[in-house]
Structures are given as C-alpha cells and as structure tokens.
C-alpha cells in the first residue's frame, strides 16, 4: 500500500536535479526556462531540487569534461534509488561539437548509465518536457524496474567507482 503511494508520488511529482557537466549553457538556460511562466513545469508537478539527496531524476547537460567526471559520479551516487538520468542536449548524448577534444569524455553515458537521451543543440523546452513525460510513463510498475544500484553495473563502471573510493582515480576511462 505504502509502496503504491510512493510510486504514485514519484510518478506524479518527480523531483529533478540539474547538473552541467561542461556544456555551453545553452541547454542549461532552456532547462531553467522550464520553471518560468511560459512553460512552468511546476504545474505538472515537476519540482527542481537543489540537493542530489532529494532528487529522483538527474537532468544532465554537457559532454562531461575530465574535471567534472568525478563530481558527476558523486552526484549520481548520492541520489537515492530508484533514480533516472536524462542526458539533455547533443553534447550530453555524444559529445556533439566538442567531440575529439583532449578534455572531454564525450557524453554522460561514459560515466553513469543514462535512461533517456534528448538530442538537440539545444533542445527546445517543449522537447525536454515531452522527454520527461515519456520517462515518467515508464515508471509506473514498481516491480518492473529494480533499483538502479541492484542492477548489474557495467564492469568498467565498477572499476572506476572502486578507484574513486581509493582516492584519486587516474584512469582516463
């Protein structure tokens, strides 16, 4: 019973966290735009949160610079399960225009698992809302999706998480 209530709340009012892992701001201002009168996602129950510990969904932009890699990983680890990650923007999905740079990992999924990709440079706010709606539509059955932590993480990720805990990791992934 409680479980169903939680699930209902999660679906009807997801709390999102926004992190820029090295993008150009274009996507970030479009995400912020979601809060303002024209798009106003709060009326749809979507609340922008400031702390990873309160968030269900991570809206992540940018191609992941080497400096922000560990920070992104830590934010993801701090989020309580179940959690979802949305890569917003072309550079978050693949590196975009910045692909090939020396300081770039080339997409969010190089570091943490991604549930939904929203390409576009930058995507329009409508598209971001549409993406979120589609993501929420997949959330309904509790047993369907095991919490992310329990799922088998890719081997590479395990390795880097372990390296993280042993202080500075020097693997370039």
């Amino acid at each position: 019973m409680l479980n169903r209530l939680v699930q209902w709340a999660r679906r009807r009012s997801p709390w999102v966290l926004h992190y820029n892992s090295g993008g150009c701001n274009g996507c970030d201002i479009e995400i912020l735009d979601l809060l303002t009168p024209r798009y106003d996602v709060e009326r749809l129950g979507i609340l922008k949160e400031a702390s990873p510990r309160h968030a269900d969904i991570l809206l992540c932009t940018g191609p992941v610079t080497r400096q922000s890699r560990d920070r992104l990983r830590r934010i993801y680890e701090q989020m309580p399960a179940p959690k979802w990650v949305v890569a917003v923007g072309t550079c978050a999905t693949s590196g975009g225009v910045f692909r090939g740079s020396y300081n770039m990992l080339g997409g969010i999924d190089q570091v943490i698992p991604v549930d939904l990709y929203i390409p576009g440079c930058p995507p329009r706010p409508e598209v971001i809302i549409e993406g979120l709606a589609r993501l929420l539509a997949t959330i309904d059955v509790p047993e369907d999706k095991p919490p992310r932590d329990a799922a088998e993480p890719p081997a590479e990720q395990l390795k880097s998480v372990a390296a993280d805990e042993g202080e500075a990791s020097d693997d370039g992934d």
């Binding site: 992190y19 820029n20 892992s21 090295g22 993008g23 150009c24 701001n25 274009g26 996507c27 970030d28 201002i29 479009e30 912020l32 735009d33 303002t36 009168p37 024209r38 400031a50 702390s51 990873p52 940018g62 191609p63 610079t65 400096q67 922000s68 920070r71 934010i75 550079c91 975009g96 225009v97 910045f98 090939g100 740079s101 020396y102 300081n103 770039m104 440079c121 930058p122 329009r124």
Partner: protein, 360 residues
C-alpha cells in the same frame, strides 16, 4: 575568532554553472576566497585548430549559449578582415540587430538571476517571461531560440522580409513597455534596493587594476564601450548612449544593464528603419591567406577579443578567445573580501559570470 572554510560548488543551487569556491569565513565575515575554474573547459582553442574555417563558426557559437551570436560575429569579422572581404551593408545591419537582441536577452536573463538570488522571485518570473518575447523574435528571424547560426563568413544567412520586420516592430514595442516596468522596479522597489545597494562595492581604481570591462566597469563610471570606441558591424551608422553609473555596487550594475536594455531596443528600431536593401552575403574562399588579426566586439558582458592567425591553409593556426568574464573573475577575488556571508550570492550575481565563456 575561528576560521571556517566553506566549499561552494561545483554543483550548487546558487550557480547555474559549475564553478567552485573555497570561502574562508570568520563568523559572518568572508575573509578570503579561492577560485577553481576548469569544470567547463572544453579545449575549444585547440579544437578550433583542427577544424576548418567554416566548421569553426558552429564550434564558436557554442563557446557560450547566452552570447552565442557575439562570438561568431567577432570570429567572422576577423576572418573577413584576413580575406579582405567587403561585407554588404544589409548583412552588417542584420548582424547588429542580432547582437542587440542578444544583449536584451542576456540582460533580462541576468536580471532574473539577480532577483532570484536576492529572493525576489516575482521579478525572476517577470523578466524571464519577457525574455521569451526576445527569444520569439530571434526564433522568427533565424529559426533558433538559443543557437541562431546567423553569421557566416562573408555575411549572414538570413534575409528577413517586410512582414517579418513588422512583426519584430510589434514585438519590440510590447517589450519596451515591459522593460520600462522593470526599470521602474529596479529604480524604486525598496526591497531590491536594500539588498543590492552598497553590496559588492568596487572602486574605479580596482576595476582599472584588474582590467575589467563591460557593465561592471561602466557601473563605476568608466566610460568605455567598444561599440562606440572602435565601431564594428553597423554601429558607426547608429546613434546610442553609453550608459554609466557611479555607485559601483550591485544596484549600479543593475541600473546599467536595464538602461542598456532600453538603449538596445532603440538601436533595434533604428536598424529596422534603416535596413538597406541588397545582398546579405559575399562569397568567401575556403582558404584564408596567411596573416593575423585582432578582432574586438562588445558582448553583453563586455569586450570579447579574438586573436586569429592563419598560415594560409583551410584551418586556423591559432585562435585565442578572451571573454569578459575572465577579468571579472579576477576582480571577484577582491569583491569577496570582507563582506557578509549572506551577501555572497548577490555579489556573485552582480558580476554576471559566464563560466562557459571563461573556461572555453
């Protein structure tokens, strides 16, 4: 008194961009700060050396998502100087129009962020709502809200017709009313004033020592603006005032920016009235003759400088970008000294940081 060190960032509700600070505080007073950049460093200067001249227009548009157009303008006018291309007057006018629309967009966005940081959410909502009107105009012109892809080497890509110009005029008129309201609020609303006046104060001397440009410099009364001092694009054919204030606090920077927004609106009207007929672009070759160029332009946050060197091939040999946020960050170290902790957000938003620009 014991000292505590407070880390801020890179993921922090205060900042919409990743930047990291170590504040040292004694009780309520901030005594020192250490800054760490580099979370958004994408190595664009090096990347640009590996792309062709034309591809670079698209790369440089993404140095910064807020002032994307000014970067391509500075780049294109530099490359055009190397090519010794004559850019048609109509193209210059359209470029300038986009520059001014972008300035309006950036300043309104900034006002919203400031209001949010002083806890005045109503103004945040208002100014971001009004910003949508500028975005609509820019979208109508170019097809993009944030990334416009208007500039090409040799001119512009768009050629608005009379109907579009009319609808822009209508949009601008509506916007003018809103900007007047916002100016009124900034000037007279007591709570905003109390929170920003005498906060983050700088002096002319400090600003000069740190070589700061843009609205922060104009807020201490330094009368400098590249648009007037070294006119580029079509600015030599337009008339406008360079706005200065003397307070040097966050309130003064707010006044400068909002009044500049009004000035930009009037510039837009002038452009629409004087828009020359004719071509919007000249053909440019793929190779750029060897040589070097220093190109300057006034972005919403101050002067942008590009240094471009060509070795006569189809790629630049060196491309250096200096954006106005870098000197502002240098000054910020001084501003974050001996202030109250609670004022930190206000001071931060006063300088209008753009970390994506600073890190490149």
């Amino acid at each position: 008194m014991t000292r505590v060190t407070i880390p801020i960032g890179p993921q922090h509700p205060l900042l919409k961009e990743p930047l990291s600070f170590m504040l040292t505080a004694e009780g309520e007073r901030v005594v020192d700060s250490v800054l760490r950049l580099g979370y958004v460093h994408r190595g664009i200067e090096r990347l640009a050396e590996e792309r062709s001249w034309v591809q670079n227009v698209h790369l440089l548009e993404r140095v910064c998502g807020i002032c994307s157009h000014i970067h391509t303008t500075t780049y294109c006018q530099g490359v055009e100087a190397l090519l010794e291309l004559e850019v048609p007057p109509r193209a210059q006018m359209i470029r300038t129009l986009m520059c001014e629309l972008e300035r309006i967009h950036s300043h309104l966005l900034w006002l919203g962020v400031l209001a949010e940081n002083v806890g005045f959410t109503t103004i945040f909502m208002y100014s971001w709502r009004d910003r949508e009107m500028v975005l609509d105009i820019m979208e109508d012109l170019s097809g993009g809200r944030i990334a416009h892809a208007v500039n090409i080497i040799g001119g512009v890509r768009i050629d608005p017709d009379a109907e579009q110009l009319d609808s822009i005029r209508r949009g601008l008129d509506k916007l003018q009313q809103q900007v007047d309201t916002l100016l009124d609020v900034v000037q007279h609303e007591r709570s905003l004033r109390v929170r920003t006046q005498h906060v983050g104060r700088t002096t002319k001397e400090l600003v000069r020592r740190h070589c700061v440009v843009g609205p922060v410099a104009r807020a201490v009364g330094i009368d400098e603006d590249i648009r007037r001092d070294a006119p580029y694009a079509a600015y030599d054919r337009l008339s406008f005032k360079v706005i200065t204030e003397s307070g040097g606090d966050v309130w003064a920077t707010a006044l400068v920016r909002v009044r500049e927004t009004s000035e930009s609106l009037s510039l837009c009207h002038q452009i629409l009235d004087q828009l020359d007929p004719g071509d919007v672009a000249t053909r440019a070759g793929r190779r750029v003759p060897a040589g070097e160029v220093v190109s300057r332009a006034e972005a919403p946050r101050g002067e942008v400088i590009y240094y471009i060197r060509s070795a006569g091939t189809d790629k630049p040999a060196r491309l250096k970008i200096r954006t106005p946020t870098l000197p502002a960050l240098s000054l910020l170290g001084e501003q974050l000294r001996d202030i109250k902790l609670a004022d930190v957000p206000v001071v931060l938003s006063g300088v209008d940081l753009c970390i994506a620009c600073a890190d490149r």
